[in-house]
């Protein structure tokens, strides 16, 4: 018997299996395209002949595939289900929504398996570091049984509680932030390109000011939680003016202006709603007032 099974050997699944092997764990792997397992087998992993055998091979089964539908398609067979029933802990690290996680937990319980939902807030190359964040939620016994293995993968492991959708909600909230940053970054890169400035210094600068942005984010979160937007360092109106300049530079240089126009229009709504002299996170009041 192995210590852990990893199902799904994309970049992330392979990084998980490789890290566990490097920590001396006995690892069984399975992937729809078995060729992807070749390098891991050379490093000591056991390739299971089929999914049910992979589930049967270890007390803890980590799944990291494209989405929850794929997981269900793989495990919803009589053989795999029977293997899960033998007290397996299913750790779902594929990306999904809180509702996906709730459905998956209900299904796993029907099969007699213990279920933990998790999200890796890092890229494959960052797996296994002392600060790599993996957030989890769901059954406390499932967390206790898989914790040592997950800690091998991520020193920054966190258990967020029993409601199983919590980790996915956090993951989405992180992603929202990350994509905001990425889109802002791309537009920033276009500004520099349009002015003929090389990007390496910019990339270093953005990495260097991360702690400063972190402080801003922390204060903004506290303001939103407290509902107190008075006495701003930088008012919502100042932010709107800053974004207006970014939009104007785009017009002056003829580059794509979608991001700054979008952002400036949103801040303008905040000013129009009377939040101009409040803190910038007062903008959440505009978002609360509009729905999908």
């Amino acid at each position: 018997m192995s210590d852990v099974t990893v199902i799904g050997l994309g970049d992330m699944g392979s990084a998980l299996a490789r890290t566990l092997l490097a920590r001396g764990r006995r690892v069984t792997v399975w992937n729809r395209t078995p060729a992807k397992a070749d390098p891991l087998v050379r490093e000591g992993a056991t390739l299971a002949p089929h999914v049910a055998a992979a589930v049967a091979a270890s007390p803890v089964v980590i799944v990291c595939v494209a989405n929850y539908t794929t997981t269900r398609a793989l495990l919803d067979t009589e053989e795999a289900s029977a293997a899960l029933a033998a007290g397996r802990v299913l750790v779902e690290l594929s990306t999904g929504t809180p509702q996906d996680a709730r459905n998956a937990e209900a299904w796993a319980r029907e099969q007699g398996a213990d279920y933990l939902d998790g999200a890796i807030l890092a890229t494959p190359s960052q797996v296994g570091r002392p600060d790599t964040p993996i957030i989890t939620s769901g059954s406390p016994t499932a967390f206790a049984k898989s914790e040592p293995l997950l800690r091998d993968l991520a020193g920054g492991l966190e258990y967020l509680g029993e409601p199983v959708g919590t980790a996915a909600a956090w993951d989405l909230a992180f992603n929202a932030h990350l994509f905001g940053g990425v889109i802002g970054l791309y537009h920033g890169a276009r500004i520099l390109e349009s002015e003929g400035i090389p990007l390496d210094e910019f990339a270093d600068r953005m990495a260097a000011i991360a702690p400063v942005i972190g402080e801003i984010v922390r204060h903004d979160g506290e303001a939103i939680h407290a509902g107190d937007f008075a006495h701003p360092d930088a008012s919502l109106e100042m932010c709107w003016k800053g974004l207006s300049i970014i939009a104007r530079q785009a017009a002056e240089s003829g580059i794509n202006a979608e991001f700054p126009q979008f952002a400036a229009a949103l801040f303008q709504k905040g000013v129009a709603a009377g939040y101009g002299h409040e803190k910038a996170p007062a903008l959440i009041k505009v978002l609360r007032a509009t729905s999908a």
Binding site: N175, G184, A203, G221, I224
Partner: protein
């Protein structure tokens, strides 16, 4: 003439908002003779008590010192203040340091205008809040003629220990400033959407923000990497394929719709990434999305 005498000890500060007042105060504390001017003169009261001289009009403020620092609302305000003939002609031979936020084009226009009036011009962007000034790491981005930078350097060093002179092309400081702001605002909008996800899922927003602040160095490593990828032009997958980001942003849209929150932000992100996938960059590094931005020129 000794070297010491070449360093200007007289400086004028025009614009006494929070930042302008901080700059004037720093100069006073360092023994400079400081002339100030502000459209609303009451704002000068505290500084006058600390030893500043309040000029009766902008022209006399300019005439009072060889170095004139401007920190006002925008470039248009600068032009309204310094544009009238009396003030403009007083600029001859002066060094004008523009620390107001603006676009690269405004910096180029301002430099051309200053030169017409035989003034030297330096454009700068302060990368800090007023209460963060004068620290060894306080960063000020600067661009413009090298001679202008050398002439203003001693004064600027009182404002911030980390001066970054980016070159003679005068729009550079403003471009770098705007590019940085673009990322910061992107982060902010993403954070706000995350706060809405947290609110509807019953997560405390301050908890979300605190964990986010801790995770930011990991994210920023990713930003740095994507910056290098764009610079190198090699979009072979190295960290994260674009297809994953298409799925992730679409998930943000779907979840947002299902819970009834505003989805304008994730739709913007998903739309950009989908266009990149449709353009054939699906299996490239996510930064390949910039190729879509390069092609589309929407006004």
């Amino acid at each position: 003439m000794s070297t010491k005498n070449e360093i200007p000890r007289d400086v004028t500060v025009i614009g006494l908002g929070m930042m302008g007042a901080t700059l004037a105060r720093l100069l006073l504390q360092n023994g400079y003779r400081v002339t100030v001017w502000n459209r609303t003169p009451e704002k000068a009261d505290a500084l006058v008590r600390e030893g500043a001289i309040l000029a009766p009009d902008a022209a006399s403020a300019v005439a009072a010192s060889p170095v004139v620092v401007v920190c006002v609302h925008d470039y248009k305000a600068t032009h309204e203040i310094l544009g009238p003939k009396a003030a403009a002609s007083a600029l001859a031979g002066r060094l004008l340091i523009q620390l107001t936020t603006g676009s690269p084009q405004e910096a180029r226009d301002a430099e051309a205008w200053a030169r017409e009036h035989r003034a030297e011009y330096l454009d700068g962007a302060i990368q800090a809040a007023p209460d963060q000034m004068a620290r060894p790491d306080t960063m000020i981005l600067l661009s413009g003629a090298q001679s202008a930078f050398r002439r203003g350097e001693a004064v600027l060093r009182l404002f911030g220990g980390n001066l970054r002179y980016l070159g003679e092309s005068v729009g550079l400081a403003s471009a770098m400033d705007l590019a940085t702001l673009s990322t910061v605002y992107g982060v902010f909008l993403g954070f706000l959407h995350g706060a809405r996800v947290s609110e509807v899922e019953g997560i405390r927003v301050d908890d979300y923000a605190a964990i986010l602040a801790e995770a930011l160095p990991t994210f920023s490593e990713f930003f740095r990497h994507e910056g290098y990828v764009i610079q190198s032009g090699d979009f072979t997958v190295s960290q994260s394929p674009l297809s994953i980001s298409v799925a992730a942003t679409e998930r943000l849209v779907q979840t947002g719709r299902a819970s009834g929150i505003d989805t304008a932000f994730p739709e913007l992100a998903a739309d950009l990434l989908r266009r990149a996938a449709a353009a054939g960059y699906e299996n490239e590094e996510v930064a390949a999305a910039i190729k879509v931005l390069r092609q589309s020129r929407k006004e």
